[in-house]
């Protein structure tokens, strides 16, 4: 977050991204409420509303919109939402430093990557489609687990590992994208 966005956050008296959109701080969110809240705030702060205004307001508008976009992006993405929520509970997901994962999970990841390589080598988009479909249902399952860990059991340390797993799957998803590009 940049200095201006930080200022916008503190001066608004908001503690977290959720409040900005009138949401309870929870992993399970109503995406319609999120979208509606996003639109309402954008309608007030967006630079298009201030194209003809003075420098001061244009700056304030830029800072607010940047802040609102960041909050929206964070909440829309399950990994980022989980991370933000856990931070609010004092748990650092530590993507960068903590790469300790259960062995069976890592084995499974290795297998999936081998499948991906094979599909890429064979230039087989149907196989990529299949991989992606499998991945997408695995992600949905993990998201459910994260929701249960955070919202129901308040098991934040356990949730951190699940969020890290989800992030691994996101990375694989990005690699599938690259594979499609390579095939084309």
């Amino acid at each position: 977050m940049n200095a201006g966005a930080a200022r916008a956050l503190t001066s608004s008296g908001l503690q977290n991204h959720f409040e900005l959109f009138g949401l309870q701080a929870a992993f399970g969110i109503d995406s319609e409420v999120l979208e509606k809240g996003y639109r309402e705030i954008q309608a007030r702060v967006h630079p298009d509303r201030f194209a003809h205004a003075g420098d001061a307001e244009r700056r304030a508008s830029l800072q607010w919109t940047t802040r609102v976009n960041e909050a929206y992006r964070t909440l829309k993405d399950p990994v980022q939402r989980g991370r933000h929520l856990l931070e609010l509970h004092g748990v650092d997901v530590a993507f960068e430093t903590n790469t300790q994962m259960p062995t069976d999970f890592l084995m499974q990841q290795l297998e999936l990557r081998e499948e991906l390589e094979a599909a890429t080598a064979k230039k087989d988009p149907a196989n990529l489609d299949r991989l992606r479909a499998g991945l997408s249902s695995a992600k949905k399952g993990l998201e459910k687990e994260i929701g249960a860990a955070i919202d129901d059991r308040h098991d934040y340390a356990g949730a951190a590992e699940l969020v890290r797993k989800l992030m691994f799957l996101d990375r694989l998803d990005a690699e599938i994208d690259l594979a499609y590009e390579e095939i084309e």
Binding site: S11, I41, Q42, H52, E57
Partner: protein, 620 residues
Amino acid sequence: MALLQISEPGMSPAPHEHRLAVGIDLGTTNSLVATVRSAAPAVLPDALGRPLLPSVVRYGRDGTVEVGYAAQAKQALDPRNTVVSVKRFMGRGLRDVAHIENAPYEFVDAPGMVQIRTAAGVKSPVEISSEILKVLRIRAELSLGGNLSGAVITVPAYFDDAQRQATKDAGRLAGLNVLRLLSEPTAAAIAYGLENAAEGLYAVYDLGGGTFDISILKLSRGMFEVIATSGDSMLGGDDFDQRVFCWIVEQGKLPPLDPKDMRLLQVRAREAKEHLTFHGEAPITARLSTGEVIDLRIDSETFCGITQTLVQKTLGPVRKALRDAGLTVDEVKGVVMVGGATRMPQIQRAVGEFFRRDPLNNLDPDKVVALGAAMQANVLAGNKPQGEDWLLLDVIPLSLGVETMGGLTEKVILRNTTIPAAKAQEFTTFKDGQTGMSFHVVQGERELVADCRSLARFELKGIPPMAAGAARVRVTFQVDADGLLSVSAKEKSTGVEASISVKPSYGLADADIERMLRESFEHAKEDVHARALAEYRVEGRRLIEATRSALDMDKGLLSPEELKAIEDAAARLENLLQGADHRAIKQAAEALNRATDEFAARRMDAGIRRALAGRQIGSL
């Protein structure tokens, strides 16, 4: 300035004036200007009723500049001094320009952006583009009967930072107040969406003269949201001409051509392409300067054959945009076709087959971008009351990052992030006692810096000597609503700072633009002063009025001292408005703006808080 604009709904300022605002489509082949008059958008034609302005600029030895049809008519006679498709050179270095060997200009490799030597001196693409924009500005001012309050200029969605900055500079150089740079497919979506009350997910396939864009948008009442965009800023209708040109050279077994013959055959190639849109076959005849006569016929099958790879090349970005949006073809409700090149039947067929539905062609592909830009300009100028306007959310087309060790790119802001956006990243020193760090800002998706576009380099100096890895340098990227980037760096323990708006290496420095503007106005100095005085007076009055009305509403947000400082600044400006010193008025207005800076920010915060409070009560 209008502090008034933060007023609550229902308390908005009276619609006492309609500001003159235009949308400009600055195209590779043709340019247009449009405006909204009595609630309907319309393209403004020239005195002869022609809506298009060919994007062709000819420089004469005597310093005359011809733009449009007049210049186009002379392109084959004077190819070196007649610049066509200048958009291809915007924000580009010499090595970035495709088919440079077939361009009959004398290029000058200047730092950052290529330049062209003409009879009237060396010209940058920014200057050349500004000539086109100037003609459109004057056309609009004559037609609307007054000075323009502002303009929206469209750019290809896939334009990078350097190309966008160059476009904005050209606008300012043409004397325009650039309200916003707007992506072309987004502009088209506005025009299409409003015209057809469209809702849902739409793709805009925009193949122009020199650029290709694909954008996926979510349209809903009062909102245009770009989900993903992709494209190729070096692919357009020109490339189809080029294929036909090469075919002619091959069929005629022609030796290397001089610039005139080259331009002549390029014109013939384009005519043949256009003919083939409606006919199965096109004649190509020309008499070269050598006396040789070209007499060929090309049929549509041959044409499709030699351009097939170009058509396929557009589908890669289409797939990528769909993947980025997380959508399948079946989820897209319609495909809006934009740009003259989409008239080619093979394009229509390919897009129809890919999306498994007939493309939407019910808007004029040449005009739709300018019309959408005009509609957006009308909103930005504040001519639409709240509730009847709409919100536009666009994205950045290419990731932004910095170079790290080993020539690798570290992405800071990812492509398809909604703008405005900001992100900070921390870096550290890698040598003991290191007192400076240099940053190389790049744009692109590739891992190697060498494969991305270099935007700027800057240095943070004066870091106190520390052990390697001890300094903590926070680099902040901020992208504004035009998609333009500024970067700043700060060492956290000492507060040493450096920042750069990412333009000097590609665009023109502000001082250059001011100098050029001054030079161009020099012969009309009196006019300029009178115009400036009139403008500053209007602005000054508006500012005072806005400040007082803001004070009436929200005085409570200020301490007595702050209130007095603002009132004093307003009184001083009011006093100076009686006089004729436009500089003093400008300075006093700036002083009042500064004095209200914090006030404006607090009012905005208070507005948001009220909105949040209202919603929470409402939802209880």
